[in-house]
């Protein structure tokens, strides 16, 4: 139940969506773009979200694209996580998506919603970080394509009135050796203690984590330690963990120390599985 009223709009084009946003914003409605709606509805019930208008982007064809081109894979922001899993065009993203929430919820949760939501795990961002994806963003001033990694600092840096239309992933990156693991406090459904996703390209490991900090991240410093073959694996991992951004999450799901312990174990598993753990 949503304890306040809002108007629901379902534009058919990008231009219609951004024009609606501008008009609604001008009228003081504080509009929200609406993907699967799962977070908007559940947080509204708790009075953690408030709006007088939602703009559903699921009828915009570009947001529903699932296209394999010669060089790149185009993923619409309004595809559900289940649709991404079933298409399985980017196996590392499939693995990340299928660990989010539960199967029925994933029929509704969208890729764009998972990445732009307030619930800060945003686990499908990890494969996009390590695949060095591009993001296509639309707003009142037009459409821009940029590197996802450059525009994601704790969260995707969207201007007022902007929304994610698509992600573009280099097809070569989707075929690279990869590693994904999600560790929860208990059970098979739920938020992560630590989730790790990695790709290996030209002998170098790219790694991204969720659940360690109140935001997902990929860090050049962490990767430099992970890939520093001049040192034994144990030291590389310790240096990588020491270089994690702060703060480290410390809550009912897991203490900061325990999360770092789990993260170190997963880094070790990652190196071993990606064939880089000879001296583990």
């Amino acid at each position: 139940m949503v304890p306040f009223d809002f108007a629901y709009y379902r534009p058919q084009s990008i231009a219609e969506a951004t024009a609606l946003f501008t008009a609604l914003e001008r009228d003081g409605k504080r509009p929200l773009y609406y993907g699967g709606g799962t977070e908007i509805i559940t947080l509204s019930r708790l009075n953690l979200v408030r709006t007088a208008a939602v703009i559903d982007i699921k009828a915009i064809p570009e947001c529903r694209t699932l296209d394999v081109g010669n060089d790149s894979l185009v993923l619409g922001a309004a595809l559900s996580l289940t649709e991404l899993e079933e298409a399985n065009l980017f196996p590392l993203l499939t693995k990340a998506a299928r660990e989010v929430a539960d199967r029925t919820a994933r029929n509704q949760i969208t890729l764009g919603g998972n990445i732009c939501g307030q619930i800060f795990y945003r686990e499908t961002a990890l494969p996009l970080f390590v695949a060095e994806a591009d993001v296509i963003i639309a707003g009142p001033y037009g459409i821009r394509q940029c590197r996802f990694n450059d525009w994601f600092h704790q969260q995707l840096q969207l201007g007022r009135g902007e929304f994610v239309v698509q992600f573009k992933v280099d097809r070569a990156a989707t075929a690279l050796p990869h590693f994904h693991r999600k560790r929860r406090k208990q059970g098979e459904v739920g938020y992560p203690l630590v989730t790790i996703a990695a790709l290996k390209k030209d002998g170098t490991v790219r790694v991204a984590l969720s659940g360690v900090c109140p935001f997902p991240f990929r860090s050049a410093e962490v990767e430099a330690h992970v890939n520093d073959r001049s040192r034994p694996v144990g030291e590389r991992i310790q240096a990588a963990v020491d270089a994690f951004p702060r703060p480290i999450l410390h809550d009912i799901e897991g203490s900061a120390d325990y999360r770092l312990f789990v993260a170190a174990q997963l880094l070790e598993d990652m190196l071993r599985e990606l064939g880089d753990g000879e001296t583990v």
């Binding site: 009223d5 108007a7 709606g37 509805i41 509204s44 299928r98 029925t104 919820a105 098979e188």
Partner: protein, 161 residues
């Protein structure tokens, strides 16, 4: 701009055309129960966790506590009231796959969709799908047995629903 508040919605529920005036911000669960009198889908956590409110939208299981009714205009909604002698209903009775029964409509809708969509579902798929629903009386083993029985029967007689 168009004002907020209520709007007339025409929904297709269990093969019938139902028209109802509802708030645009109203969830499908609330409209089904309080607007249309279909109280089979249950309010549980209202947070997308428990699955007691699961219904089918165009054959796909959806937690109706976190979908707006207005989003389902033009789609076919199936609630537990719309299942008529589905094999999974009988299997639940045979295996006594419930105690208090509160979670049962949600489990049945989800299991029914699994059986219809993936008649060849393997162990992992069954587990993945059933994890979307919570039973506090813990009939999990009996529920799983019911689902497996229907899948087996379907495999043995593929044309017989």
């Amino acid at each position: 701009m168009e004002e907020t508040t209520k709007r007339e919605l025409v929904l297709h529920v269990n093969g019938e055309r139902r028209s109802i005036v509802a708030r645009q911000a109203e969830t499908l669960l609330f409209v089904l129960r309080d607007g249309l009198g279909l109280t089979g889908a249950k309010p549980g956590c209202l947070n997308g966790d428990c699955g007691a409110c699961t219904v089918l939208v165009d054959g796909t299981p959806i937690k109706s506590c976190m979908m707006l009714a207005i989003e389902t205009v033009g789609k076919e909604i199936t609630t537990i009231e719309g299942l008529d002698d589905a094999p999974i209903q009988h299997a639940f009775v045979r295996h006594f796959s419930f105690q208090c029964g509160y979670c049962t409509p949600g489990f049945i809708m989800n299991a029914h969709a699994l059986i219809e969509r993936h008649p060849n579902a393997d162990e992992a798929a069954i587990q993945e799908w059933l994890e979307s629903n919570i039973c506090r009386c813990t009939s999990y083993q009996e529920i799983e047995a019911a689902v497996k029985e229907v899948l087996e029967a379907k495999k043995a007689a593929p044309t017989d629903p």
